[in-house]
């Protein structure tokens, strides 16, 4: 047995006796064998893992041309929620958009104009018109998408993949972010308030 394994040296020995060098070699062969098995397993695991990640995606569009700022009134506008899954919000200083994906587990919150709140039907998260968390289990503020002006025709372009996600740590709850932290380019467009609008009647949008 040992002669077959070692090949040379103790051809004449019929007993299963192994010299120290034999033992070392067997140990090495064993380790090498398991090494090959391990490398093969690791390689195929990695290949399987890689296989599950498609490098090409066919997903709904994420860039929308939403017209001019003047087409939107003060407050939350829901006209793009169906098509683009975002709200357009215009306040006294300008315009921004918020992605209508709940930061908790991805449901679409509903806007309640009477309560001035976004409320999620899945686990009861509540956001205010700025996207700050006012209740429920949501861990972060609503995302704001990129909003820019088309250089050719001046229309507003929203990109829902480029998202603003400031770290909320400005309240004891750690869930509110000051408006001026969020009203930065390219997630906000400065614009004069619509004619006749006053700060006194729109406290929240001021």
């Amino acid at each position: 047995m040992s002669t077959a394994m070692s090949g040379t040296g103790n051809q004449d020995s019929l007993k299963d006796a192994a010299t120290p060098s034999d033992l070392g070699r067997r140990k090495f062969m064993l380790a090498a064998g398991w090494g090959v098995v391990g490398v093969t397993l690791a390689g195929s695991t990695y290949a399987a893992y890689k296989f599950m990640f498609p490098p090409i995606l066919y997903e709904p569009p994420t860039v929308f041309k939403i017209g001019h700022v003047t087409e939107y009134g003060l407050g939350v506008d829901e006209r793009w929620k169906l098509k683009g899954r975002f709200w357009v919000v215009r306040n006294m200083r300008g315009i921004y958009n918020m992605i209508s994906i709940c930061r908790h587990l991805g449901c679409t919150p509903n806007w309640f104009p009477d309560q001035k709140r976004f409320r999620c039907p899945c686990h009861g998260s509540i956001y205010d018109v700025h996207g700050n968390v006012r209740g429920g289990p949501a861990p972060r503020t609503l995302w704001r998408g990129q909003i820019t002006k088309d250089p050719v025709d001046g229309a507003v372009v929203v990109n829902t993949v480029v998202r603003l996600d400031p770290n909320p740590s400005q309240t004891p709850q750690g869930l509110w972010v000051k408006e001026k932290v969020k009203e930065i380019k390219p997630f906000w467009l400065e614009h004069s308030p619509p004619p006749g609008a006053s700060c006194s009647s729109n406290r929240l949008l001021c």
Binding site: L82, R85, H104, P109, Q115, R117, P121, G135, G136, Q173
Partner: protein, 276 residues
């Protein structure tokens, strides 16, 4: 052997290579069974199983005459049905997600429940109560099982009957078609309560919370060790630690739900990375 019929007539013994064979008159092949107490599987047991299967089939066919599998409108990412209820067996999970952050309620806790269930046979050292229904011989084990699943069923009942539009709390007598105003109370982390009550700084409040959290586990671990030595000795160190971690976590989940519902506590422990 004549006067005492044990359940196992010929006890198996790993150290013996021989077996006891009995020759007797009759037409039945019998192995390791009392001769007079056995019946043929076919047709006796097979018929029971067949009847069972037929009853289940009949029951299901009758059931689907009255209730049908639901089919809502086509999937639409822009609108979530309100309220969005998970299937009943996941309602417990959905309800837990209200009380805990998703990494805990959605991932760690279900994982712990699964692993905790798997550890049952390894931490239950009570040799009694095998093969028959008993409560008196296994009070603690049955209490644990019932408590865990009571939590599960209670959250299912809450999710089914006490949650309505916007996943708000609706009593059975409140109008389930009217959107309730969100509660005016704000959920606060525990350390803010300390800051307000004890007039300490925020960091001290946080340290108190951390202390409380670890004290819960430490005291919980210690009490049976010192006061119920028999319990500890029966289990041994490793089993004891594994069991107590799961037991205290389960109790902690119940405790946190009570704290949330009664005192509007959002988190016990707040760290920059995780909140519990």
């Amino acid at each position: 052997m004549e006067n005492k019929v044990t359940r196992e007539i010929f006890p198996r013994d790993a150290r013996k290579s021989y077996g006891l064979v009995e020759l007797m008159k009759g037409s039945n092949p019998i192995v390791k069974k009392e001769p007079e107490d056995t019946v043929y599987t076919w047709p006796n047991l097979i018929m029971i199983e067949l009847i069972c299967a037929l009853l289940v089939t009949a029951g299901l066919i009758i059931l689907v005459q009255f209730v049908h599998a639901p089919l809502r409108s086509l999937a639409d990412p822009s609108t979530t049905p309100n309220p969005m209820r998970a299937p009943w067996y996941f309602l417990g999970l959905q309800e837990l997600l209200v009380y805990f952050d998703p990494w805990y309620a959605g991932v760690v806790l279900p994982g712990m429940i699964i692993v905790g269930l798997m550890t049952f046979p390894y931490v239950d050292t009570n040799p009694k109560g095998v093969g028959y229904y008993t409560f008196s011989e296994r009070k603690f084990a049955i209490f644990n099982y019932s408590f865990g699943f009571a939590l599960w069923w209670v959250t299912i009942v809450i999710g089914t009957y006490l949650r309505g539009l916007d996943w708000q709390w609706y009593w059975p007598w409140s109008d389930h078609l009217v959107h309730m105003n969100p509660a005016l109370v704000t959920l606060v982390p525990l350390h803010i309560v300390f800051v307000n009550l004890l007039h300490v700084s925020k960091d001290v409040g946080k340290a108190l919370c951390d202390l409380l959290f670890f004290a819960y586990f430490a005291v919980g671990m210690a009490i049976p060790y010192f006061l119920m030595r028999k319990f500890y000795d029966a289990m041994g160190g490793a089993r004891y630690v594994v069991f107590m971690i799961f037991f205290l976590s389960m109790m902690g989940v119940g405790l946190k739900i009570v704290l949330r519902l009664l005192f509007n506590i959002k988190y016990i422990v707040v760290t920059p990375w995780i909140n519990v």
